[in-house]
Symmetry: D2
Subunit: 232 residues, 4 copies
């Protein structure tokens, strides 16, 4: 039997649609204050809103992403409740044989104490070991999945055998405030006011989302960083 199985070491993030700009932040903020709309003061206003944690003006916008990532990433992602989700369903369709394995640059060894783990590189053999085990087990699991499907077992039952490194895809829609909260928790940065220790794979997703964010709302992004990556 030929699975044509695919192993990936990366993730995909595409921007499907967006309604977002720095200008919309300042316009919304000025509804509250009644202040005159002065473009030359926009940057200062955004800095002030970010610094003093006036978050609501950052909500009048919307980003829709299509994301491909392994299930263990989506499990963490969906803990973020101020967002809208539609994920590929293993109940409604047969899942494709695409699985995640850590690439050579993925740190594999955990050190440090609870709550502040650090990850350091493994040896080349460590990477080989992990990749080989994951490839073997993914392949065997997917074969078992197909065997059950071929025997008429319901997809929702057959999928129980699949490991959490199988890829899934989803649409997710968030506003900039929720997105900044996501980024503050799902990226690691020495300069953050509050430390975060995300799993590398969700950080890979977050980094790609942040690139879109900084492109659409560069001033907001700049002051998000300058103010310690604390979501307002």
């Amino acid at each position: 039997m030929e699975n044509q199985i695919t192993f990936r070491t990366d993730v995909t993030v595409e921007l499907v649609d967006a309604m977002a700009s720095d200008k919309a932040v300042t316009k919304a903020a000025r509804v509250s204050s009644g202040a005159e709309d002065l473009p030359e003061r926009d940057a200062g206003l955004i800095n002030y809103l970010m610094r003093d944690r006036h978050g609501s003006p950052f909500e009048h916008n919307s980003f829709t992403f299509r994301i491909e990532a392994p299930i263990f990433v989506f499990r963490e992602f969906m803990r973020h409740r101020i967002a809208s989700y539609n994920e590929e369903s293993g109940r409604y369709k047969q899942l494709d044989p695409v699985f995640y394995i850590p690439g050579p640059s993925r740190n594999l060894i955990q050190t440090g104490k609870v709550g502040a783990y650090e990850f350091i590189p493994g040896t080349v053999d460590d990477t080989k070991l992990v990749q080989q085990i994951l490839m073997d087990r993914s392949d065997a699991a997917y074969s078992a999945y197909l065997t059950m499907i071929d025997n008429g077992i319901a997809r929702e039952v057959a999928r129980m055998v699949l490991p959490v490194n199988i890829f899934s895809s989803m649409y997710v829609t968030m506003n900039a405030r929720s997105l900044m909260n996501f980024l503050s928790l799902r990226t690691k940065d020495e300069a953050s006011t509050y430390p975060s220790f995300p799993q590398r794979e969700i950080e890979m997703v977050a980094e790609k989302m942040e690139a879109y964010f900084s492109s659409w709302m560069p001033v907001t992004h700049k002051y998000f960083i300058q103010n310690g990556r604390v979501a307002p």
Copy 2:
């Protein structure tokens, strides 16, 4: 002293920005099912999602409205928690002398029992009475407000004297699912599966919002109506 006071019998709803289409609903839904993207089946899919209350595909969109309405309308509006708000603040700016009075077509007399009130027209004298009282009291309240301001009293204290028929303005951002929930509760329609008895003034706001909604998402709106105005 000249207040240049304004009395309005209407409300304002402007669409500031939108990211919305029927197509985005079906694209999000097909992420889940993995079904082929067939435009000729879009209407049927939207009807199915609405009827069986699969609400999440209706969330990947966004409408930002600027609304001018009296405070008693905003008090009801902001009970809707799946939305983003920025409202004019009486702490940061001096409020303008614009007040709501019921127009001639506004039913003034309440009949029926708790939970299912009906409103019927009053006499011409009823309308005159209400308008005259509201105009007199609004004018007196606003003069008192200015007196306190002129005496150096903080705006946030002076505003305590103002009645709930004073106008305010706000930005509000919602997705279509939350908007349909708002519309189902804030409009009255004999054909609704679940009856709602909104105050007329918030219904005036809702009707204007619904016009934008039906213009941007006509198929979604059509099946919202056909399925009894129940938000999915």
Copy 3:
């Protein structure tokens, strides 16, 4: 190597704590209406609130559950955003070898069309096939997990090999309104106004949650059923 692996065909739901009663619903509702607190009218009031979808009085209560179920159940569960979660983390602890397999009464064969699937029993051989495959693959996956752990690979990496039928546990806290929404979507009942087709395993969780709910809020539960299991 001895995994002492455990296979379960059931789920666990324990009530950790609750603050809930029918009386609290009517007390909250009467804050709005200003009506006298008449115990003899409580049932009628709850029926009215449920029928006309006045949901807010059902929110002033709280249920905390501890749940043990396979990961594929938690994946569906956590799509419910009006709830609070703390789940066992495969990053912070080594996961135990407990896996789900469908019991003899679990229907294995899917019929019907998209959106309205029905499940019918498989043969005894079907059950054997599914159980054997899941046991074999779970055992092999867990051995692979241990091999990686034993070689010093980080837990968060090693866990990638584990299938979605591995058990996890979590605390979840919800109010009665959110709980009724969960029950309406995650149980199948011919008498429901809106049909739902949940996966059997999350329905097993939902049924146990519903038992606690009906015990703490019997009148609310009664009218939830009488009004077609539509969350207000």
Copy 4:
């Protein structure tokens, strides 16, 4: 006509019900980590969760308050969306003649710049002026309200004349995480990491809520303060 009007300079906060303890925080946190339940380490764990902003373990609890405060306070309060509300309705009942006026200790004069206003005491005459104006206008407004009611005008129309210093009452239910967010924004404290400049009257409500919070969850409250009153 005799209104028997009442003027208050204070607010009321009663705890209706609670399901809350420091212990429930650590139990929920240890579900995630799988760590042993060690009471002697509870305080350290709570400090760690607060400091590094692991907020979810603080959500498995619930406080229901009954609050009496003027409408302008409720307007600010209800901007907090992670909470459940039932408020007295001017559509369903005739409102009582109870109005707020600032007491002698209420600072009346605003200084400083936008976003960082300070309030300083007014003179005795300032207080007299504000109290006298508010009492006169409240009395006149309430008389006008009764006149409309007596003429058969619907309550929801008649109430438009009432000022925002009229008292209302509500039930509000929140968990500790949402409550800490509320307290961080609605109290002023030099030691706060992020400055807040709440209106004094909502701060009066917040202070009474905080007293209940510190009584039910003293360790959580202690570390909330030690960590700069930043909600985790």
